[in-house]
């Protein structure tokens, strides 16, 4: 009997312990779920807030001095391999794709009114024109060869930029005085600026060698005279 009572007490205690433990685990789960729910709610609210801010407030781009890259093609350019290739080059070549993104990009067909102002510059299509924000044409090339060598094109554009803007310095954007009187800021697209470094003036190696030899001879003569005690 005593044994039976002991077993009953033990089993009641065990059941109590198990119940208490189960309640503790449930409470912990509830807390965890509550915590997760609040975290999700906060994240959702923050996302909503961010979305609203992104939609309503944007940084106004100060791109008034940005250059323009203009590709002029025929109205049916998609059926012309050379023109399609020239256009595709600005997506496939990393440097030209960067140029497209760092300048105002215009794809103009010859039947659009915008083409009128470029007509005198266009010998054939496709025609690529890179111009500064004041309209100064920095680079121009036209014809079916345009899309054949993208690296050559990039090099040629850089060469022309160096000619127009030696050492990265362009003519003032506004040859007529600007209303605000501020100097023009740095404006060459970064992708075309990387390789532009001040060109070192070439020295004549023959002349330098001659000077070195002369100097050496003079030094020897002086030493000889000194040794001779003259």
């Amino acid at each position: 009997m005593r044994k039976l009572m002991l077993m009953m007490v033990v089993s009641v205690l065990a059941a109590g312990m198990a119940a208490w433990n189960a309640a503790r685990v449930c409470r912990a789960y509830d807390e965890k779920i509550l915590h997760l729910e609040s975290a999700v709610a906060v994240t959702y609210a923050a996302a909503l807030e961010r979305q609203t801010v992104q939609e309503r407030v944007i940084d106004l781009p100060e791109d008034g001095n940005q250059w323009h890259t203009i590709l002029i093609v025929c109205p049916d350019w998609k059926s012309r391999p050379a023109e399609r290739r020239a256009e595709a080059m600005f997506h496939s070549d990393p440097l030209l794709a960067s140029l497209q993104h760092q300048t105002h990009w215009h794809l103009i067909t010859t039947d659009q009114p915008e083409f009128c102002k470029f007509r005198p510059l266009v010998d054939a299509t496709p025609c690529l024109i890179v111009e500064r924000a004041n309209g100064e044409v920095v680079y121009r090339e036209s014809g079916p060869e345009l899309g054949r060598n993208s690296h050559g094109l990039t090099r040629a554009i850089r060469r022309e930029i160096e000619r127009h803007c030696p050492d990265g310095r362009c003519l003032p954007l506004y040859p007529v005085p600007r209303e605000d009187g501020n100097p023009s800021p740095d404006e060459i697209p970064a992708v075309l600026r990387e390789d532009i470094a001040p060109e070192k003036k070439r020295t004549n190696p023959i002349l330098l060698a001659a000077i070195s030899v002369l100097g050496g001879m003079l030094g020897l003569a002086v030493k000889f005279r000194r040794a001779a005690g003259v």
Binding site: C116, I129, H164, K201, L208
Partner: protein, 222 residues
């Protein structure tokens, strides 16, 4: 004697350095006098004037509720200027009647159009819109009408009105700004790439030539 020799050597080296063109890396631009032609002056002088081609100027139209569509016409002008012709035509075909700032913002956001606006009469916004050659649609006449601001200088505001789109009119700057602010100070513009300026080239000898001299363009008298 030694000093004399050293001085002679130094002098020789100096003369030779000058003769070889210098050893330094600095080089000046050597920009001489550049003659700026009248045509180039005209181009540069009108850089901050949004000259929407006549083909893209749209007459205000009556919507299905019998209201004018000046807000949409002004936006369509700006999209054409920013080179989005197909989009401009699409918008004009599907929108009309009067519009509020809230209503337009909702429509633009639904369409996924990136735009910038002020509803508080912020003059800096107008300066930005003209400085970046984008132009703006601005509310006037106590909020009952919307027109395009296509130029803004110290003295004048240049206005393209869809009720008479053939001509750009110059309003006194103060009068325009007063009218705009009294109308609620709402201005809006799509943030697309502005049209490329008229091109000109630097020719040999430092002469600057405009490319458009052989085809004089039709321009509004301002």
């Amino acid at each position: 004697m030694i000093y004399v020799n050293r001085m002679a050597l130094a002098a020789m080296l100096a003369v030779a350095t000058v003769a070889t063109g210098g050893l330094g890396t600095a080089s000046t631009t050597g920009a001489g006098i550049v003659r700026v032609s009248q045509e180039v002056r005209r181009i540069i002088g009108s850089l901050r004037l949004i000259d929407i081609p006549h083909r893209w100027r749209k007459q205000n139209w009556i919507g299905d509720r019998g209201q004018g569509s000046c807000v949409h016409a002004a936006l369509v002008h700006l999209w054409h200027w920013q080179g989005r012709h197909e989009w401009a035509e699409w918008w004009a075909a599907r929108h009309g009647n009067g519009e509020t700032a809230e209503g337009l913002a909702a429509k633009l956001e639904t369409a996924g159009v990136q735009f910038a606006e002020t509803r508080s009469g912020d003059e800096a916004f107008l300066d930005w819109a003209i400085r970046t050659r984008r132009g703006a649609a601005v509310v006037v006449q106590s909020g009952s009408h919307m027109v395009n601001l296509v130029g803004l200088d110290h003295r004048h505001a240049h206005i393209l009105d869809s009720n008479a789109p053939e001509r750009v009119k110059a309003w006194p700057r103060d009068k325009f700004l007063r009218d705009w602010k009294q109308s609620g100070g709402w201005a809006v513009t799509p943030v697309g790439p502005p049209a490329a300026p008229d091109p000109w080239e630097v020719r040999a000898g430092g002469r600057e030539e405009a490319s458009t001299t052989d085809t004089p363009r039709r321009r509004d008298r301002l």
